[in-house]
Amino acid sequence: MSSSLVRVLLHRAAVARVTLAPHQTLRKTSALSRCGSVLHRQIRGINTFTLPLRTEEKVTINFVNRDGKKISVTALTGNSILDVVVDQNLDFDGFGACEGTLACSTCHVILEEDVYKKLGSISDEEMDMLDLAYGLTDTSRLGCQVCLRKDLEGMLLRVPETVADARVDSQQESST
């Protein structure tokens, strides 16, 4: 499936509470970046559009997958890490199960310390979900909450193992 189709579908899903004239299509919103989509919504007729339209720029980011393999991808600013994983069809088993709605913590990624610091504050809701992530570290974030910016060029993200990967070990443990 082409990534542009994916994009349209994603937008379809992400655009809630928009104002719809009968002839309008949801496709119109696809020019907007996905992080902070709420800001682009019109609620009860009140336009809460507060962000100027940013031009999207390319950044390269590097994943290290669960087998330790490095995967470099080019992505657009304004997308979340989860968007990138989906768009690029990166095969991380079970990643992003709740589609970025802060209900699952399966989009857990581990960052380098300087990048972690650079990203700044984390919402309480994200921290609550992070608490439930498997293999949590001090520089863990949820991929669906991290938005790509130009200054993250070259960032390195480790995708930690999941409980499924660890299952064999814990089985051995629990049976001894």
Partner: protein, 539 residues
């Protein structure tokens, strides 16, 4: 071919979630499950042994796991006595604790035909929930489904399973699960809070002391209903008015019937169909309360639908909230919208109101804590009405709700899962299709998870910084993962806004003749007696 269709279908809906390969594998898994009927969760002891034996042949690395046969637990007879004779249903939360102390953190029991493995350990709960597949199943929803088939209704999120569930869930979570998407409803909820405050003032003026409000839950019930309806239906119901409109009153009665007949409706599911002619009442009550609930949401949805249609015909611009959006985009059929609105309203009222009641009760009994939270509210808002965004700056208000709901009074003291795969938990081999009970009440009261577990300490939830962690699988009042509570953020918003404003306006105090109110389980963990509180003006 059919498989391929499903694949494409799921694939489109669910791209965000999974890569091609995964979907393919999981869809296959899903089909296998349904086709082989292994979601059937009642096992006779003989079946169970058989299944276990079969499965362990297949899965080699489970050779060392213990057999369910050897799992401790109360005998069937003592369990029957406990529940039916000694009314264990109202003490499920206490029995959960007793049993986990007696039999360990994983034990088995049998409720009539239903075999259940209970898990009262934080790490085991985490293990089960993290291993979930694409469409987790909570429990046997046969009676709900039967009613819906009987009346030609759709299933909503609570009662749907498998692909059907996933399709609706994918639509709804994009609308009401992200905290920032829900924060925009604050301007709709705040006027409801204002009405709550007014109502408190009216109610207390009717009392000799001019301060007491009796049975505070009654008021919070109306608040919760009004609050969730403003968001779901984009309509006010008038529950907090002096004279409640007839339609809303009828709905309240249907909800009460559903709730009060909870035990009977549990039997409605448990009583085999052939017995219904002899014991017809539970099933009849079950159906008639559902009739009431469906009717109410249908009226509201239809009203909005004709409004939308009218505007479309005239070529007018359509502006609106959640329901409007759903009716315009039609990502779900109108029948599915009826069903989901019905089930969400059902799930969203008692849960929220009990939590508010317990929070207010705890605040009244802990004036020092109340003062501390009040000071935070004053510091941040200085008397201003809170917005959705302010909540981020009120960590103690969030702590208050967590301490109430996550720890002391988890409205759902336990949750269920039917295993979709063979699992090893706590060293036991648990075959696919087993009903698990996750004992959240026990884990939230476990000293290992929460030191001084009996104490009310909202500040235990404050973080020093963003790397300050609490491993809180010990308390997941909204569940965890893709089948967790879809209304979580809505409920949180309603509770944060109400509690903040109540603290701004009133000293909440115990009434002089107040006694301890204990919790009892009635499906949900609810106050065992009316909670009477005094609301004393701050200024």
């Amino acid at each position: 071919m059919a498989l391929h269709d499903t694949f494409l279908h799921l694939g489109r809906k669910n791209l965000l979630q999974h890569t091609y390969k995964q979907i393919f594998m999981q869809t296959r898994g899903l089909h296998k499950t349904t086709a082989s009927g292994s979601v059937d969760i009642t096992h006779s002891p003989a079946d169970l042994k058989d299944d276990t034996a079969k499965a362990s042949e297949e899965v080699l690395d489970v050779a060392n796991a213990k057999n369910l046969k050897d799992m401790p637990g109360p005998s069937t007879v003592s369990n029957l006595l406990e529940f039916f004779y000694r009314d264990g249903f109202s003490r499920i939360h206490e029995i959960q604790m007793e049993h986990s102390q007696k039999y360990g953190k994983i034990f088995k029991s049998r409720f009539g035909p239903q075999f259940v493995v209970s898990i009262a350990d934080r790490d085991m709960v985490a293990h089960v929930l993290r291993a979930e597949g694409v469409a987790p199943q909570r429990g046997n929803m046969e009676s709900w489904k039967e009613y819906r088939d009987l009346r030609g209704r759709s299933t909503g999120l609570i009662s749907a399973e498998g692909e059907e569930w996933l399709k609706m869930r994918s639509v709804l979570r994009q609308l009401i699960m992200r905290p920032r998407d829900v924060a925009v409803f604050a301007p709709d909820v705040n006027p409801v809070v204002e009405d709550l405050v007014k109502r408190i003032k009216t109610m207390r003026s009717l009392q000799p002391d001019g301060q007491t409000v009796e049975n505070i839950n009654d008021l919070f019930f109306k608040y919760a209903m009004e609050g969730v309806a403003t968001i779901l239906y984009e309509a006010r119901l008038g529950c907090l008015e002096e004279d409640i409109p007839k339609m809303s009153q009828e709905y309240i009665e249907a909800l009460h019937l559903m709730f009060s007949s909870f035990k009977t409706t549990m039997y409605a599911g448990a009583i085999p169909k052939w017995l219904r002619p002899i014991i017809p009442k539970p099933w009849e009550e079950f159906c008639s309360s559902w009739d009431g609930l469906f009717k109410f949401s249908q009226i509201h949805v239809d009203k909005k639908l004709s409004e939308v249609k009218r505007k479309m015909e005239r070529g007018e611009e359509i502006k609106g909230g959640l329901l409007t959006h759903m009716l315009v985009t039609r990502e779900m059929s109108v029948e599915d919208i009826y069903a989901n609105m019905t089930e969400m309203l059902l799930a969203g009222v008692d849960t929220t109101s009990f939590t508010l009641s317990w929070s207010a009760y705890l605040l009244a009994r802990h004036p020092m804590v109340q003062q501390q939270i009040f000071e935070e509210v004053e510091r941040v808002l200085g008397g201003r009405v809170p917005t959705g965004e302010d909540v981020a700056n009120l960590p103690l208000i969030r702590g208050l709700v967590k301490e109430t709901l996550s720890r002391l009074f988890p409205v759902l003291p336990g949750n269920g899962r039917v295993t979709q795969d063979d699992l090893i938990v706590g060293g036991y081999f648990i075959p696919k299709g087993t009903q698990l009970a996750l004992c959240h009440y026990s884990t939230s009261m476990d000293e290992e998870n929460f030191p001084s577990a009996e104490e009310f300490r909202p500040e235990r939830w404050l973080r020093k910084d963003s790397t300050d962690r609490v491993d809180n699988f010990g308390s997941i009042p909204f569940g965890y993962g893709i089948r967790s509570c879809i209304g979580r953020r809505i409920a949180e918003l309603e509770m944060y806004l109400a509690l903040t404003q109540l603290l701004q306006k009133f000293h909440i105090k115990v009434s002089p003749d107040a006694t301890d109110v204990r919790a009892k389980t009635h499906g949900l963990l609810c106050p065992g007696a009316p909670i009477n509180l005094r609301f004393v003006d701050r200024d």
